[in-house]
Amino acid sequence: MRRDDLRPAVFGTATRDRILVRLALSENGLHVRELARQIDSSANAVHRVVIALERAGIVVSRPVGTTRIVLLNRRWYGAVELRALLERLAHAYPEVVERARTFRERPRRIGKPL
């Protein structure tokens, strides 16, 4: 991510925007390292933002093995409006959308050719 990025930072920083946009594009959530990889940020930076968003109730996480899967909190009182806004905001982050498009969340049979 470039430091002179002039995109809107609707949620305060470009990292927050990217995290939320990427989560809005995810059906089952992502673990922090994968989320960081998908938005070109460090795992530590993403982890810090995720903790703040979780405290605000906007995202939730659940443990899976030794990691945590993060996803938008559909129980949050503004979840529907937030998702609609993020779907609009995604147009400002085409590279995030493109990575999400090529990232496979569904299960894949072992040995099946890519």
């Binding site: 605000a56 109730g57 129980r75 009182y77 979840a79 529907v80």
Partner: protein
């Protein structure tokens, strides 16, 4: 105020709500701990969740809870040196799904008080947990409260609310509403 070593979740909830009220903050017991309040024999929790109606300054909460022996821990929860119950203050406003909660029940015990979700709101809250995440334990708790507190739970209000939620977010699985009411009828 001294909490005994044998204090229960309900004792802690009353004490915490009272000291916060005296400090000028209205805190409402919600989530799983509100369910544990209504069906203590069927569901227990070690987390006491309050939403403070208007965002309280942390130092006000710190000072009030310190009188009970609770101190803020690194993760933002409040812990007691000997009691297992953790006090947490999820960020408000009070809401169940898309609907804000503007009224609640206030129970009194001697000179203590407790603001808590109504039984109907506990059923909605626990059912929503199941509806959103598929959590079967939350479904069982919603059913337990609906059965145990049948006279106080407005099932028509629950059903109407599910329809409003579904109208706003069609991705919710409508069959889970049917499952809840079918299981409730079976008893």
């Amino acid at each position: 105020m001294i909490l005994s070593e044998r204090a229960t979740l309900v004792d802690v909830a009353f004490a915490a709500c009272t000291v916060l009220e005296r400090a000028g903050e209205t805190a409402v017991l919600c989530g799983g701990s509100a369910a544990a309040y209504y069906v203590p024999d069927l569901y227990q929790s070690l987390d006491v969740d309050f939403v403070v109606e208007v965002g309280a300054a942390p130092h006000v909460v710190d000072r009030a809870l310190a009188t009970l022996g609770y101190a803020r821990a690194a993760e933002g929860h409040y812990r007691h040196a000997t009691l297992p119950y953790t006090l947490a203050f999820p960020i408000g406003p009070l809401a169940i799904g898309r609907e804000y909660i503007t009224s609640w029940r206030t129970d009194r015990r001697d000179d203590l008080l407790l603001h808590v979700y109504t039984p109907t709101d506990v059923v909605r809250d626990r059912f929503l947990h199941y509806w959103a995440w598929g959590d079967r334990t939350a479904l069982d708790v919603a059913l337990a409260v609906a059965r145990t507190r049948a006279r106080e739970v407005d099932l028509d209000a629950v059903r109407d609310w599910t329809e409003r939620e579904l109208a706003a977010d069609a991705s919710y699985d409508a069959s889970r509403i049917g499952r809840f009411f079918t299981l409730l009828r079976k008893g």
